[in-house]
Symmetry: C2
Subunit: 305 residues, 2 copies
């Protein structure tokens, strides 16, 4: 085998009370990528999609992730990567993460699976560093592990795959730009201990709700006292979308990543579709272009084609 194609999924990070640690993988949208093993130690990027992306491997997130992997191998192998991006950069649903994860998962398959998922997350974080200036695993961990994951720590890297019951996600992506740097800058450096306690009580309860397949507990625990109150100001009609989604039957939800996408979780496909309709109704009044997605939680992460 000298080439392989994968679907690298979008992911939701900063899941409500799980800011900077809890994320999950979606079934759709996905990036399509084909990776070929070549005999020279270099990475060549071929972008077949509609989004403008750097072809210099050190500046391309997939390239940076592959270069990290190649450094670890220490053999004269390289890769060609051809991709069609469907996840718009800057959407807040892990676009850069999909590229780096797809690349390293495919490369690892071509190399006979010599790296663990944890090592692949480590390589993919080099892609995130190119994208955002900072190594973080909030999206790459769910993209590689699938399902819900907690990033307990990145140094040392410790990723916890969570058990969860069937859940559907509805995502709305308003076509506006939120700079990650701006979304970071408005966060408080310090938070009241009382709010932090409420936040971790909710996160502990949310993890318990997922483990116990207790949808009511999942719904009750999806409260964010720290990040949502400041970041929602960056997203037009945030409160209206959330209220309409909950009224349509969503269990709860919030900002995906640092926005502008919002996500809601539901117990059934029909509820998730009602939530989508409710989101569309709110956003169709804004004049802002938007996309919506309804997706199962993806239990596998990156998939081979």
């Amino acid at each position: 085998m000298d080439q392989i194609s994968v679907l690298a999924p979008a992911t939701v990070s900063n899941v409500v009370c799980g800011f900077d640690c809890l994320g999950f993988a979606l079934d759709a949208p996905c990036d399509e990528m084909t990776v070929r093993l070549i005999g020279s130690p270099q990475v060549r990027i071929f972008n077949r999609g509609m989004y403008d992306l750097p072809s210099d491997p050190e500046k391309n997130v997939a390239g940076a992730a592959l270069l990290a992997l190649m450094e670890k191998i220490g053999e004269p192998v390289g890769f060609e990567v051809e991709f069609v991006k469907h996840i718009k950069p800057g959407s807040g649903i892990g676009s850069s993460s999909a590229s780096s994860c797809g690349a390293v998962v495919a490369a690892n398959k071509l190399l006979g699976e010599r790296f663990s998922k944890l090592e692949l997350v480590d390589f993919a974080m080099e892609g995130e560093k190119v994208a955002s200036g900072e190594k973080h695993a909030d999206n790459v961990a769910p993209c590689i592990f699938g399902g819900f994951v907690i990033v307990r720590s990145i140094d040392p890297l410790d990723i916890i795959a969570l058990d969860s019951p069937p859940l559907l996600a509805t995502v709305i992506h308003p076509q506006i730009e939120i700079k990650t740097s701006e979304a970071r800058a408005i966060l408080p450096k310090e938070v009241p201990l009382k709010s932090a306690v409420k936040q971790w009580s909710n996160l502990g309860s949310l993890v318990a709700g997922l483990a116990q397949s207790d949808y009511s507990l999942i719904a009750r625990s999806m409260e964010d006292f720290i990040v949502e109150p400041v970041r929602k100001a960056l997203i037009p009609k945030y409160d209206e979308v959330k209220a309409a989604s909950l009224a349509a039957g969503a269990l709860g939800g919030g900002i995906s990543g640092s926005g502008p996408s919002m996500f809601m979780l539901s117990e059934t496909l029909s509820k998730a579709e009602s939530v989508e309709a409710a989101m569309c109704e709110v956003y169709s009044q804004t004049g802002i272009k938007f996309h919506t997605y309804v997706s199962k939680i993806n239990p596998d992460g990156v998939r081979f084609l």
Copy 2:
């Protein structure tokens, strides 16, 4: 049935990264209590133990909890409570909580179990208010539910019973006094967001570790970046006890409640006993009197005799 006897167990609250929300019940020590139904709407307290406790029901924690329960019934019934306290007040392992929980669980049995566990927690919190000036469920919730619980919220009251694998607790109670008010006063009002994120990543992971019976994950997650660093100064030889316990095989642990007791969790009885020996060795050099306990996690909470 007009009288019933119960064993009301000690409890550990503020479990490491679960400050103000995560607690568990011990098998030992326990308070022994006998509660009798009487035909007049009053509470009579008979203290048969060695600790001096108020006999005025409004000032006695068991009395206050029973008065709250009686107010809810709205019928002319009352209770006599006779107790032998074994859990020393001020030990940090839920002494007041055992009294109020034992009283209301026994009373509820005499009344034909008309209240839910959640309602009993609500009554018992009135006892905690008498003891500490503040309603909180950190000890009464595990005392009534048993096992590990999260107090997600007290208004509205929301208690989450967690799944957990077999675990042993080793507790050391140095015979020194730490005023809850002092332990509260030294806590920071605000905490760095970065520390709070580490704390909730650990709590989410700890709940996952308990749910998945993953002892390694339980051990890795028992880190406290917020409370332990400031409160450990109140407990002589804290670092030494912890280091010796971990060296003896403990998974992890920390301060019980607001101290002075410390607790450690272990996977097996033999390890828990090695931890006890290690604790004793450290404390026998201090000149401070102390007690140690090795106990299973109590899955039931208050038990009927």
